[in-house]
């Protein structure tokens, strides 16, 4: 199918947008990246995702698919001849889905809660939550990877994509002096993070930490600014 038949509507800083881009790279499927302007929703976005009006959106021919993990599963099933993204065993699939949901519902809110926390106590509590969640993921990594480089085994899979997409933001958080992944506390995940970011499907879509940090600064400034009239 021609590259123009596959489009991703998104923004370079979004970890959710990174997920389907990695998935398409794994499948060696070319696509057009339609960059949304920050702070302004295009007519195409509103028309393609009327329910949430959010990125990412995958446009495949005349079909639109929304919600990052739904899109990743769609990509895995629509291009079934490429390397598999979800595990083949149904129990392993349930395990991968469970941890991906945990990452989205608990772990990432804990990560993004840190810069939003007001006061020392709240910040300490937010950090505590994030670190205990990360310890659970370290355990999950050992169970799922079974000694191999990725949650998915020898190559990147669903759970790698779900967690790995947040590595850019994780590194931005670490710039402020907090250690989240390191060789002592989380040896498995520390090694996994390096392998993930070095992978050919990930390299070109993972933003540079400095660039993301600048974006984060701009974002928080905008969030704290009084609303414009």
């Amino acid at each position: 199918m021609a590259e123009s038949d596959v489009k991703i509507l998104g923004g370079w800083p979004s970890p959710f947008v990174m997920r389907p881009r990695i998935a398409l790279n794994i499948k060696s499927v070319g696509y057009e990246f339609l960059e949304e302007k920050f702070g302004v929703k295009s007519d195409l976005l509103i028309k393609s995702n009327p329910v949430y009006k959010k990125i990412p959106v995958l446009i495949h021919g005349d079909k639109t698919i929304c919600e990052s993990l739904v899109i990743v599963q769609y990509i895995d099933e629509a291009w079934s001849s490429g390397p598999s993204i979800l595990p083949s065993d149904t129990y392993d699939r349930a395990t991968a889905r469970f941890w991906a949901a945990y990452i989205d519902d608990k772990w990432f809110p804990a990560l993004s809660g840190i810069p939003k926390a007001q006061g020392e106590e709240a910040k300490a509590e937010a950090v505590k939550q994030l670190l205990s969640g990360t310890a659970l993921l370290e355990e999950a990594f050992h169970k799922c990877s079974k000694g191999k480089a990725f949650f998915g085994g020898d190559s990147i899979g669903y759970l790698d994509i779900a967690l790995g997409s947040f590595l850019g933001w994780l590194r931005v958080t670490e710039l402020n002096g907090l250690t989240i992944l390191d060789a002592e506390m989380t040896p498995g995940l520390a090694g996994w993070a390096e392998n993930f970011c070095a992978d050919s499907a990930v390299k070109e879509v993972m933003p540079e930490t400095r660039k993301l940090a600048e974006f984060a600064k701009m974002l928080f400034t905008k969030m704290r600014a009084p609303p414009s009239t």
Partner: protein, 220 residues
Amino acid sequence: MADEITLLDFWPSPFGMRVRLALTLKGIDYIYKEENLQQKSDLLLKSNPIHKKIPTMIHNGNPISESLIMVQYIDETWPKSSSLLPSDPYGRSQSRFWADYVDKKVYDCGRRTCFAKSPEEGDAAVKELLECLKVVECELGEKLYFGGENLGYVDVALVPFYSWFYAYESFGGLSIRDECPKIVAWAKRCLENESVAKSLPDQQKIYEFVVTMRKKFGVE
């Protein structure tokens, strides 16, 4: 080896109902264990140490939790009978999207409608509940079921909430039948299926449960 399935559950839970329904639709035998949520069993705490929540299913010693993940697991492990997800990738993506929408919206608005601590909170919850039911009603359109001609994944995800409708209406001061007639008609159509009728408690029982819980939470 015969399959051994235990479902740890709590009878009013719409999430538990989803799993009961999926197993029943597929004709799969299982052992139902009612959990006391004030005193969770060792088995539940061991099987779902992360969330410690029901429903949790144990299949041949392997625990699975999170209702929609469980329903997909059931559909994939027993693919031959009553497929819940469509076979084409796009159809599957749409089913997953809408089941996820039900998860994000219906439960929370419904809970806030029943247990609102102030009239303002209640009104806001009712408004949101109706909004999301109308969105879902629009998605149903003229189809018999969300799954098309037969019950599917989204039907399984949503129909348990029908058992809570009388509670939503009584405490929210609304008529879902008037506001979303197609959803009510769809739910009644689902209930004509024996598996659905078996898996959903009576609306009156749920209402009485909510009355008890409201007293417990000190909601007047």
